[in-house]
């Protein structure tokens, strides 16, 4: 099978990336030391190729009402132009089809950013639902757009250095807000727990943008550090921490699901009918070793499983997200089965680290 490539593929190779097959995409896992790249983002600034993620535009009269029904989070929460909302999109049975971000631009235009591996499935589902509930809407996959994330305490300053014409429109953006600057759509969002921007731009311009950022001192960061950064920041990874077989309430996403209002949405009835028996918690390994996905977690309330685990470069300890019985409490000590041993881990509140600092 031929791997899919982003418009930055040649740039990655020129910058010394080690490339890997990431869900069918030929992507950089690191350009040297993954740990150095991690600290680079926490302490300064780094850039990520996220061209594999998909931008979708939903346009037409009634787009807000449609999203209000399509998504578990309430599109009515975003009323200021450019404001973003994180949400799960659910099956009628309550499983998570994908997690995504929607941006309110006008009452006729919401922009949606979805995961790479789920993009085709997501768009098919959106179109299927729109055909029934909002036949006048157009749902367009923006395959003409590329996306780069610039993250870290100095990220915004570097973007303004490279794209000075966008500064006026973006310097007053609050967290989770975007501005449409013509060719550049600039959002103060990310997947690292640091400040920064995600920039969407025409595909044919992204390689020049990438090199301009690099010339301004922004180092490229691979998917390896992207994973340790997001896990420290307590952000879920679709396909690992949740998927169609589990609901958002068992995936640490209760804060994004509105079950109190009158609003109906796809999956709501299933969530109300099936209260969760498990929940997602943070784990900090007390013994020596490394927590990894799929390791068994033994608790007095029954067994659970690690969904994502790694070594945290910020804490210099191993951390994980784990799905465990709901009666497990913060502060409890549990056992994780690693190879033939039972190692002690503490249940902790996450995020583990954000904004340059460890929080545990």
């Amino acid at each position: 099978m031929t791997l899919k490539t982003t418009p930055l593929n040649a740039a990655h190779r020129a910058m010394g990336a080690k490339m890997v097959d990431f869900g069918g995409w030929d992507m950089p896992v690191n350009y040297g030391s993954q740990i150095d790249e991690h600290h680079q983002v926490r302490n300064d600034v780094g850039m990520f190729d996220v061209c594999h993620m998909r931008v979708v535009d939903a346009k037409g009269e009634g787009v807000r009402a449609f999203l209000r029904y399509l998504l578990a989070n309430n599109a009515d929460k975003i009323t200021i132009p450019g404001k973003a909302l994180y949400s799960a999109m659910l099956r009628p049975e309550g499983g998570v089809i994908d997690d995504l971000i929607i941006y309110f631009m006008t009452e006729q235009w919401f922009r949606i950013v979805v995961n790479a591996g789920t993009a085709d499935k997501d768009i098919a589902w959106m179109k299927e639902q729109a055909a029934v509930h909002a036949p006048n809407l157009t749902i367009t996959s923006r395959d003409d757009l590329a996306m780069v994330a610039i993250q870290g305490p100095n990220a915004r300053a570097k973007v303004w250095q490279v794209l000075p014409q966008t500064k006026a429109a973006t310097e007053n953006l609050v967290n989770f807000q975007a501005a449409d600057c013509g060719e550049y759509f600039i959002a103060r969002t990310g997947y690292t727990g640091e400040d920064g921007f995600e920039v969407m731009l025409p595909k044919e311009k992204v390689e020049a943008f990438w090199y301009d950022l690099n010339n301004a001192g922004v180092k490229p960061i691979g998917l390896g550090a992207r994973d340790t950064l997001r896990l420290e920041a307590g952000m879920n990874l679709y396909g690992q921490d949740m998927d169609e077989t589990v609901g958002p309430l068992e995936s640490g996403l209760a804060w994004t699901v509105d079950l109190k209002s009158e609003r109906d949405f796809i999956g709501k009835a299933a969530l109300l009918a099936n209260p969760p028996s498990k929940k997602l918690v943070g784990l900090l390994l007390l013994d020596r070793g490394v927590l990894r996905g799929h390791q068994k977690v033994v608790t007095p309330h029954g067994d659970g499983e690690i969904t994502s685990g790694t070594f945290s470069p910020t804490l210099e300890k191993s951390i994980a997200l784990a799905r465990v019985p709901k009666d497990v409490q913060t502060g409890d000590t549990v056992q994780v089965v690693i190879r033939d041993k039972m190692l002690a881990a503490q249940v902790v509140k996450y995020p583990f680290a954000r904004n340059g600092k460890g929080l545990i």
Binding site: V29, N30, S33, Q34, I35, G224, T228, R288, G289, V290, R292, T310, F311, P313, S318, R339
Partner: protein
């Protein structure tokens, strides 16, 4: 980094150094550490443990993944490198100095039969295709 010519090698990417007293010292190759990336944890076998050739006996974990280390020949573990407990990154920095454990082989001939540097390089090249 080229593979030192005074060492022996295994297909599972361990290097083996023959010591003057007939014991051997074992680590993982530059190629192996390069594939794994930043090392964060090493679990070496306890001294006194008897190993069969090819037996899983140590674990090296990078941020990315865990990998088993195999006994290159049959024998008994005589020492483990405790320095790696607090500095596993030594494997990345100096793969041919950062040894993981030492063994006393049952048969010296088993060690002599391991790959030399050229044969190991050919093996690495063949795996890349």
């Amino acid at each position: 980094m080229s593979n030192p010519t005074d060492l022996k090698y295994t297909a599972s990417h361990e290097w083996v150094k023959e010591e003057a007293d007939g014991s051997i010292t074992i680590g993982i190759t530059d190629h192996a550490q390069e594939l794994l990336g930043d090392m964060v944890f090493v679990e070496a076998p306890a001294a006194g443990r008897k190993l069969n050739a090819g037996e899983e006996c140590a674990v090296v974990e990078s941020v990315k993944a865990a990998a088993d280390v195999y006994a290159p020949v049959a024998g008994e573990v005589t020492a483990a490198n405790a320095d790696l407990d607090n500095a596993p990154e030594a494997i990345n920095n100096e793969p041919y100095a950062a040894w993981i454990f030492k063994m006393k082989p049952d048969n010296a001939a088993d060690v002599a039969a391991l790959m030399d540097a050229a044969a190991y390089q050919a093996h690495v090249d063949s795996e890349a295709h």
